[in-house]
Symmetry: C2
Subunit: 216 residues, 2 copies
């Protein structure tokens, strides 16, 4: 396992990064069925992916399979999590404690995915002071200062579209380096800030288009 930890993880393509969590899902299921080793072919079959692609993705994690047996499942899950930096937890602030924000605060599994939301912020006075899943909702005015003092690197935006840019600016002022954006708006940020858009509508368009095609 040391090999994995010592290996310098290279920057991977977004498509590879989006596939890696799906491999974990399959590996966990295989593990629950008492299976100890998995091959890239097996994983590719389960997901309906090309096995050469799966092999390349797994090679990028630095985990080495055993001849004839394949990958030790525990080791491979560990290697994928390391590649995604899910073996560390990064502190995050969330802004917008509406229905989606509250749902995200309620997710217990994000801590398995490297995300540790330590505070939430709101501009709506009636929500300030609420406690959602042990996380206190604070006034938005405190965001930049607290992010700076606490060296928080990730910001989660779950405010309406017309407030999102202002919130992003406050986050960046506070030294936040990566924004997970759920607001349906394109954020303008400096080059050194990472934005990952998680708008549900981007995914929904794929579904509604394909369904319309299939019913023709």
């Amino acid at each position: 396992m040391e090999m994995v930890l010592e290996k310098q993880v290279k920057a991977l393509s977004e498509r590879t990064l989006r596939r890696l969590p799906r491999y974990i899902e399959i590996l966990k299921r295989l593990k629950s069925e008492k299976i100890e080793f998995a091959s890239s072919n097996m994983i590719a079959d389960e997901l309906g992916l090309d096995s050469i692609q799966v092999r390349k993705d797994l090679a990028a994690t630095g985990v080495i399979g055993k001849p004839k047996l394949g990958f030790a499942i525990d080791e491979l899950i560990f290697g994928i999590k390391h590649t995604l930096n899910w073996d560390n937890q990064t502190d995050a602030f969330l802004v917008g404690a509406g229905s989606l924000g509250s749902a995200i605060l309620g997710y217990k599994t994000f801590s398995d995915h490297g995300l540790n939301i330590i505070a939430a912020f709101e501009n709506e006075p009636s929500k300030v002071g609420e406690i959602i899943n042990h996380i206190t909702v604070l006034p938005i005015e405190k965001l930049s200062d607290m992010a700076y003092r606490m060296k928080v690197h990730i910001g989660v935006i779950t405010v309406p579209a017309d407030e999102a840019q202002k919130v992003a600016d406050m986050m960046i002022e506070g030294g936040i380096k990566a924004i997970w954006n759920f607001a349906p708006v394109h954020l303008k940020v400096p080059d050194f800030v990472i934005v990952e858009n998680a708008q549900l509508s981007h995914s929904l368009g794929v579904l509604t288009h394909k369904l319309a095609e299939s019913l023709k």
Copy 2:
């Protein structure tokens, strides 16, 4: 505008389909700034995308730009929505009225994105009978029958991972043709069923990996 409606929309790549909603976001902002025409260069600049790619994506909508002026913004929004089938509303059932499910039921904007959730289902008796955003939570036992009778085509899965496959099977039994899956599990479905995975972890991995790289 008739040209757009009459045109046979071709099956587009997933990557194009995921970009189209982002163009709508930009176009709506430009519109709010009283701008009436937009070029593919302008949209590409706003989003930091390649302008040739944007031009190709927009060509797929069938909307024709005007020389020197570019695309009439209203017409282009309309054309993109038509391509995504967002000018129709498709009835959907949601299963799993936990925190994420409730947040999704609370989203008023999905109706702008072609999705009309008309009922929710739960296996937890204490939740059955609840009304969330005017939608009644029904017992899961009624799912297949009601989907079949009401010709519902889209199913949204927001149950925990270990219940998702069973729910997918019930949806398919009821004739549901497209599944929007939020459960962190790979669903096994027949070839004629469309699955669009919307697990938040897939998006989160991109963010945590890139952030770790940038802090090295």
